[in-house]
């Protein structure tokens, strides 16, 4: 080859290690965040070709403007009753989170994960689905379950691993499962559910059913290979699935730049697969609902999958094992430009004359009482520290029926 060498050498190579704009001690900043004005981004028909909405992967769909007005082509999917219901859903999630954090401090559970600041994404999305659709969530979509009407007490039973835990003490707290509520069993392994959702959607289509699937993944977890698996299969088979990326800016201590890489948005991952992709203000309940409905209709009408990046912010710690002040400015949450989803919806309802501060307080109090009652009821069935399902139940459900070797082991264990 020797003599055909083009220009080599020259300056030494450098490796770029991404850094967030701000670290503890720095003033918080979100200067890389592209935000469009509410109402500005167009609403294509549900049968639009993915290639014709490339711009929507970079823009940000928003409905609520600074004054709390619902504006633009994505507005108008919900009436006042529905909006009030949505507000109540979000308040319930927030109250539930607060109480469970308290329960963790009291030792009733080993672990908890809140969704503070991200409530609109799952609450509004679930309202845009049919009850028989199946969600494949991560650990931060309690809003799906609560909105679907799953009993709070059963959630607490699971979190407390008590004698009424529907999962019989097997799973880490918050790893719920409810076929009936359209909520797939949560895995501790990030990402795995994304391709499973596509498989479920494929099965529904193979069966000429009308149910669709909705898959969930965090910004950090999009780096996992299952994300790619899901994209390839959804694209190849045109699966009736909504692929949701919850971009809450952080993956434990790692900012989204590590998973997002060089400058493109998460939504734009869809483009290389011919998958319709949209980027949305995830703290805007109306936008979340409108875009979710659009994607659900698209899937149901056999126009294929939609990838949605919900831009939001993880206000709290990653989990009860985490302290975010070690890796991001303490006041970063308060400077998040997209605000708080509950406040924004509340303001909108007030603005349109359908709500007031008093009604809000009443609602919050009512919701608190419901949550407290559920927690108290659950506590009567025990907590992690007290009563559980029988230890022998550990040997059940490994297989549909217990093989000999497990029977022997169960005996050996003394059950």
């Amino acid at each position: 080859m020797s003599d055909h060498i083009p220009e080599a050498g020259g300056e030494p190579l450098r490796l770029r290690i991404p850094e967030p704009v701000a670290r503890p001690g720095d003033p918080p900043a979100f200067r890389d965040l592209h935000i469009d004005r509410a109402g500005e981004v167009r609403r294509p028909p549900i049968d639009v070709a993915a290639a014709d909405i490339i711009d929507l992967g970079a823009d940000m769909i928003r409905v609520l403007d600074v004054r709390g007005e619902a504006v633009g082509p994505w507005a108008g999917t919900l009436g006042a009753d529905e909006l009030r219901a949505g507000l109540r859903d979000m308040l319930t999630v927030r109250a539930f989170d607060a109480r469970m954090l308290r329960a963790h401090r009291q030792g009733n559970t080993s672990f908890y994960m809140q969704s503070l600041g991200e409530e609109a994404v799952s609450c509004a999305h679930r309202r845009a689905l049919d009850p028989r659709d199946m969600c494949f969530p991560t650990y931060r979509q309690q809003g799906l379950l609560i909105t679907a009407g799953y009993p709070l007490v059963d959630m607490v039973n699971q979190i407390y691993s008590n004698s009424h835990d529907p999962l019989r003490g097997r799973q880490l707290p918050v790893m719920y499962s409810s076929q009936a509520a359209g909520f797939f069993s949560i895995s501790g392994n990030l990402g795995t559910q994304f391709i499973q959702a596509v498989g479920w959607a494929m099965a529904s289509a193979l069966s000429s059913d009308t149910r669709i699937a909705s898959a969930w993944i965090g910004d950090g977890a999009t780096a996992e290979s299952d994300f790619h698996s899901a994209m390839v299969f959804a694209s190849t088979y045109h699966a009736p699935v909504i692929l949701n990326i919850v971009n809450n800016q952080w993956a434990i201590s790692t900012f989204q730049g590590f998973a997002r890489g060089d400058s493109a948005t998460f939504a734009s991952r869809g483009h290389g697969f011919g998958i319709a992709a949209l980027r949305v203000d995830g703290n805007d309940y109306l936008a979340v609902h409108a875009v979710s409905s659009w994607a659900a209709q698209r899937a149901r009408a056999n126009h294929g999958p939609t990838l949605i990046e919900w831009v939001t912010y993880r206000v709290g710690a990653h989990s009860t094992s985490d302290d975010p002040t070690a890796y991001r400015p303490q006041d970063e949450p308060s400077t998040w430009p997209l605000g708080d989803p509950i406040e924004r919806l509340k303001n909108h309802l007030i603005r349109i004359g359908e709500w007031s501060d008093e009604r809000h307080q009443q609602c919050a109090d009512a919701v608190d009482a419901v949550v407290r009652a559920a927690a108290e009821e659950a506590e009567r069935h025990g907590t992690l520290r007290s009563e559980h399902s029988a230890p022998s139940s550990m040997f059940d459900d490994v297989f549909a029926s217990m093989p000999d070797h497990l029977r022997r082991q169960r005996e050996q264990a003394g059950y």
């Binding site: 199946m134 097997r170 069993s185 499973q196 479920w200 698996s229 899901a230 490994v398």
Partner: protein
């Protein structure tokens, strides 16, 4: 055996429309080993179809389909290519029933050609059964002949739990006994090559006494069943050869009964020695029949090296090595 496997698919697909089949090259073309040949033509593109080349996605999608209520039976083109799917198999398929307390299940079958003997080199020859037998919630099955292949595969597809179904590729076209220097013998000349029409099952967890005998017990499965048979014939040793057929669940009773009778035991497999399934068998035998043992349980296996290409017959535990081990075991103490 290819035909028996294909037949099992047809029977299962005809009886239950929830059975769907997919994998790389399995649709239009019918699979690189032809095990799904004609299924797409017969059952339509929605029951048998090609997939992108992503083993993890194949299994992950199958799990989702299983959770929906279908019964996917998927092919991994070679067992050597199952590793990318290991997370979906271990963390998901195997755990789903347990972690959801039965709320969701994964009644899926994952087929894959296993073992060497076709000059496939290190990435077309492996026998990874032990990485599955260690995983709670998985069943692991491996037939040694067409009759069992069909019956076990139908049973696996009908089973409500995830099943790893390993097909010794060297047996696809005949009962290979390790004598690679001899001409290939077709299944048609072998009694176990006769496969009944229609539906039947071989229950998972039942071993088969391939050859009754009194001198020693050989615990084995897959290709090595035939190698053991050849070794017994060539050494004239009256070996009892047990074809395990299913590693999890395991037919421990048959194993223990045989070893109590013969007092000597050889465990044979093609996979590497260390932490192979042979270790489990050896451990079980000494746990349940130590006082019957007149010699140590010996393992005859592939070496702890990658499966070589040119030297595959130096790696493969053939009749000579197995025969020598039989003699040594008989002579021990």
């Amino acid at each position: 055996m290819v035909e028996a496997i294909r037949d099992a698919h047809i029977v299962a697909m005809e009886r239950d429309e929830k059975v769907v089949v997919f994998g790389q090259d399995v649709g239009y073309f019918g699979g690189v080993f032809r095990c799904t040949h004609g299924l797409q033509q017969r059952f339509g593109k929605h029951r048998c179809f090609d997939s992108p080349i992503n083993e993890s996605a194949i299994v992950g999608a199958a799990i989702g389909m299983g959770a929906y209520g279908l019964r996917p039976c998927v092919e991994i083109q070679f067992a050597d290519y199952v590793y990318p799917a290991y997370d979906q198999i271990v963390s998901e398929a195997a755990r789903l029933r347990h972690r959801s307390a039965g709320d969701f299940t994964a009644p899926i079958t994952i087929r894959m050609p296993t073992g060497g003997g076709i000059f496939g080199g290190q990435t077309h020859s492996q026998s990874p059964e032990a990485i599955f037998t260690h995983v709670a919630g998985l069943k692991t099955v491996i037939p040694s002949n067409p009759y069992d292949a069909k019956g076990l595969l139908i049973a696996s597809i009908e089973d409500d739990d995830p099943v790893i179904f390993l097909e010794p590729k060297r047996l696809y076209n005949g009962p290979f006994d390790g004598h690679h220097e001899r001409p290939i013998v077709p299944w048609s000349a072998h009694p176990l090559g006769e496969v009944p029409d229609g539906h039947y099952t071989v229950a998972l967890g039942t071993a088969r006494i391939h050859r009754a005998g009194n001198d020693l017990t050989v615990l084995t499965y897959g290709t090595l069943v035939h190698v053991a048979q050849a070794a017994a014939e060539e050494t004239g040793i009256d070996a009892e050869i047990i074809d395990l057929r299913s590693l999890v669940p395991l037919d421990l009773a048959t194993i223990v009964e045989s070893v109590r009778k013969t007092g000597r035991c050889i465990v044979a497999h093609e996979a590497t020695l260390t932490s192979g399934f042979g270790a489990e068998l050896s451990a079980l035998v000494q746990e349940h029949a130590l006082w019957s043992l007149e010699a140590p349980v010996v393992r005859v296996t592939g070496w702890d090296t990658p499966y070589p290409h040119a030297h595959e017959w130096n790696y493969f535990p053939g009749p000579a090595r197995l025969g020598a081990a039989m003699r040594a075991t008989l002579d021990a103490r």
